[in-house]
Symmetry: C2
Subunit: 246 residues, 2 copies
DNA sequence: CGGGGGGTTGATCTCCTTCAATCAACGTGG
DNA sequence: CCACGTTGATTGAAGGAGATCAACCCCCCG
């Protein structure tokens, strides 16, 4: 049992205020949202939404990490999205969920019942506009992953995953590391494998190999030190900097 | 040399009127679009947009087929989108193109200069709304492909591609085939390989195998007869019907 | 006739999967 | 406090799916 995290009810000082679907809202629009929103807590490992189920709400991840996954009948599983704080869950205009959403860590979500939210979208262009922007970003991310899944080697896949997590860490926490970076892996080896279209054994082997070659250092299983990000991005096979550094 | 296709300038009887980004527009809004739109023709094989280039226009594919591809320095190439009539090209709010856009067949595009179109989006919610809808659909398609790329076998990949093309054909042409279907492959073996994260040799072999096993029949290289779609979708590894049939 | 683009097929190789053993960390109940 | 089970991770050995390299075919077109 864990203590349910207390979250400010004030949108004004919400940690994801300036990045979530509400980012562009004016104070009065925020007021409207504040009236219909509600928070939900999920424990690590808990399934937030089952694929195929009816979805009666949409919302934003406030804290914690969740995954979007697709599973075939025989058990093969592919992650199709990694939801970090400020990411949006659910699809306005559709009733059924297309993917499983699973909490990787404890998760707090800011939810809206679907119907009122849809109404709000038509009356509040700022929300619709921000959602479009976020969806376009997700589409770009998905397409980047298609290259990873389709054409990269196992080693490059691991390097790609690490550098993407590092990049997100960088923008989320407004750090500005030049070369050395430290990241906490939010995923198990198995989850990484599902993300990368590999087996967990291959993930483990390639992480060991990158460590042996000095591309990364490990402290425990989940704590990764990246001595030189350029080196890592080189291993990922991306052209030069990938827009990461100047 | 080919004759440049003549396209009606009237939005009212445009072939993609009810599916493109303009689908939800009222007559007066259509009028505004009509004033700023212009058509461009591209020949098969021609690159419409180079990745990294400045994009000064957005637009819809009116006829023909184009591909979105990402290429690594060493030449490895992954297709990340297949653009059919009514699909939208370009990203409002971004200057540089992220992918190569290449005409697979002769292509006619209905274009708008980016800046005026962006202005229109804020003033015409119908356009923004439709674009959001289309982007969400594309995101779903991209995620479906992530499963194909990450977890399916070569044989399943081919079957998936064929059944997706068949499905699109079905909705586009409002046919309602029960079991037997005929499709024209719009792609070379190499393009299919780039779509599926395979080599063209493997594509060729798996197509031959599906033919040998009676899942498909071939007339020439590009004309595919599908005696039983259920059988094909079975081979694709999708659960039962995938929403295709009733 | 020659050449080139698209396609098929064969032989070989290799990278990743599969199967399996082992380990460390952790919690739990006797 | 220790035996036990569990979960996540590492490592090894063997096998296979798909890549690679290469030859060849078909068809169209100049």
């Amino acid at each position: 049992m864990m203590a349910t995290q207390t979250i400010s009810q004030e949108c004004g000082d919400c940690p994801i205020r300036h990045r979530a679907v509400c980012a562009r809202c004016e104070p009065d629009e925020l007021q409207t949202l504040e009236e219909i929103k509600y928070y939900r807590n999920f424990q690590a490992g808990q399934t937030i939404i089952w694929s195929g189920d009816r979805m009666d709400f949409v919302g934003s991840v406030v804290s914690g990490i969740a995954t979007l996954t697709q599973t075939m009948e025989d058990g093969r599983c592919q992650m199709v999205g990694l939801l970090l704080p400020s990411d949006f869950v659910g699809r306005p205009g559709r009733d059924g969920a297309a993917y499983d959403v699973v909490a990787t860590t404890d998760v707090v979500m800011c939810c809206f019942r679907k119907r009122p939210f849809e109404d709000l979208m038509t009356s509040t262009p700022h929300i619709a506009h921000r959602l479009l922007e976020m969806t376009l970003d997700e589409l770009d991310a998905a397409r980047e992953w298609m290259l990873v899944l389709g054409r990269k080697t196992a080693r490059e896949k691991i390097a790609s995953l690490l550098s993407i997590i590092a990049r997100r860490d960088n923008t989320l926490n407004k750090r500005n590391a030049k070369t050395r970076m430290v990241i906490d892996l939010p995923l198990t080896r198995e989850a990484m494998a599902d993300y990368l279209g590999l087996t967990l054994e291959t993930v483990s082997r390639q992480i060991s190999a990158l460590k042996k070659d000095g591309v990364i250092e490990l402290e425990g299983k989940r704590h990764v030190i990246i001595p030189d990000i350029r080196r890592l991005m080189d291993e990922a096979g991306d052209d030069s900097d990938g827009g990461f550094l100047v």
